[in-house]
């Protein structure tokens, strides 16, 4: 099997995975419109249907899908000042290529190691217990060679915990993206333009983060644009409908 055998039926595209890839790289399909989660689900279905895993192909798929995800996440961030965020034509393909080449480098190194092992396979080493006259090691002769502090330090290392990360927001999802989407849409309906700070006034950190996700989603859906004059400066959110109404005027 190759990745070409992976048939997709997405909202914006229907056909084999490799064709989707080509069209994305040629920028004939907007990556922003491709639901990558659906591609992954299609791949999993495909695997399940086949009942076996071709590691070579799976590796290629994972490298590609990971790179596509990273690209897409960057494209979702509007911004001009950062070179990194500003994808030139062809840059998507370059990025993807770099990722694949890096994985390939170690695959080739692996081939080299396999050859080394093969070359050495006719050379064997002796593996025999020491003759009895060398095996006597009386306890009385044992000398102190290890430092007990090594044990204390090792145990101290095992007592170390990772930075306490609050998992509260994971186990108790107090706020959902859908909630915050509704919240933002309501704000934009009444004001057409609103600052991010006012949209999250009085909210806790989790809510602020989820609101940012909701904002990304609005941007992706083409409902809103956002701008930030300088890093850490205020973020202004504008409804696209409002912008469109202003334009003809």
């Amino acid at each position: 099997m190759t990745l070409a055998a992976l048939e997709l039926d997405l909202e914006v595209f229907s056909g084999p995975f490799d064709l989707l890839l080509t069209l994305v790289l040629r920028e004939e399909i907007d990556l922003l419109e491709v639901e990558l989660a659906d591609v992954v689900l299609a791949y999993l279905d495909h695997l399940e249907a086949r009942g076996e895993l071709d590691l070579e192909v799976a590796t290629e798929f994972l490298v590609l899908i990971a790179a596509l995800l990273e690209l897409k996440s960057r494209m979702l961030l509007p911004g001009q000042e950062e070179d990194l965020l500003d994808l030139e034509p062809g840059e998507a393909a370059e990025e993807l290529l770099a990722r694949m080449l890096d994985a390939q480098r170690y695959r080739q190194a692996a081939g080299y190691l396999a050859t080394l092992l093969q070359d050495e396979s006719a050379s064997r080493f002796r593996s025999a217990p020491l003759p009895s006259w060398l095996r006597r090691r009386p306890l009385e002769q044992a000398e102190a060679v290890y430092d007990p502090d090594r044990l204390g330090a090792a145990l101290g290392g095992l007592l170390r915990r990772p930075e306490p990360i609050s998992l509260g927001h994971l186990t108790v999802p107090r706020v959902s993206v859908a909630d915050r989407l509704t919240h933002l849409r309501l704000l934009l309906r009444s004001a057409r333009s609103v600052s991010f700070d006012s949209a999250v006034e009085g909210a806790d950190r989790v809510t602020v983060a989820v609101t940012l996700f909701a904002l990304l989603e609005l941007y992706k859906q083409g409902e809103a644009t956002w701008s930030q004059a300088e890093p850490f400066g205020p973020i202004d959110i504008a409804s696209v409908a409002a912008a469109a109404e202003r334009a003809p005027a």
């Binding site: 064997r124 003759p131 306890l139 000398e143 060679v145 145990l155 290392g157 095992l158 007592l159």
Partner: protein
């Protein structure tokens, strides 16, 4: 054999080198795909090449067959190199495993694994083989328990387990309440449940 041996003699020398036990002529003949007469002739050639004073090895015929042995000339040097207790530096995995046994003994292998977050089988096997730890019965659940040995105390220069250094010096959570064992187990589980990306890797990706 002179400086250049027959191929059969070379094969036989290699076979005897690789075999920890004496090998019978019939087995040598079968392995080398030769007749027993040919093998005997080649062994005579080998005997000649390994005659006393020539090499560091000697060919011996014992009850079970032929074997190679080291020349007695090397006896003293071999004692210096090999007869001391084998105490290579402890690997990090061995040090962690040994520390767990030393401080918590008796302790079961599943417990060690839970504390370390990764398997302790290979490290524990090495420690057992070197005589630093030993079995000490079974837990109520039937798991083998381990403790340290008198050799352990000697090699660490300790008179007894009470001489083990206080962990508080290295303990990042000394002020927390709770038994050492419980705190080790909970820290191990906290680490196992978490795999944050490492900064070095992130940098590597960005550069690539």
């Amino acid at each position: 054999m002179s400086e250049r041996s027959s191929e059969l003699a070379r094969v036989l020398e290699a076979l005897l080198f690789l075999s920890p036990e004496p090998v019978a002529v019939s087995d040598l003949a079968e392995a080398a795909d030769a007749s027993q007469e040919e093998v005997r002739a080649a062994l005579a050639q080998l005997q000649e090449a390994l005659a006393p004073g020539r090499r560091g090895l000697a060919l011996r015929e014992l009850a079970g067959g032929f074997t190679l042995a080291s020349d007695p000339v090397a006896e003293e040097a071999a004692r210096r190199l090999l007869a001391k207790p084998r105490t290579p530096p402890l690997t990090p995995a061995q040090a962690e495993t040994l520390a767990i046994v030393a401080y918590l003994q008796p302790v079961s292998r599943p417990e060690m694994t839970r504390i370390r977050g990764v398997s302790t089988d290979s490290a524990a096997a090495t420690l057992l083989e070197r005589g630093l730890i030993e079995e000490s019965g079974r837990s109520t659940f039937g798991a083998v328990l381990y403790r340290t040995t008198p050799l352990f105390l000697k090699l660490f220069g300790l008179r007894g387990l009470e001489d083990l250094p206080e962990v508080t010096r290295w303990d990042p959570s000394a002020e927390e309440a709770g038994e050492l064992r419980d705190r080790l187990l909970s820290a191990g589980e906290a680490r196992a449940g978490l795999g944050p990306p490492e900064p070095s890797t992130a940098a590597g990706w960005a550069a690539s």
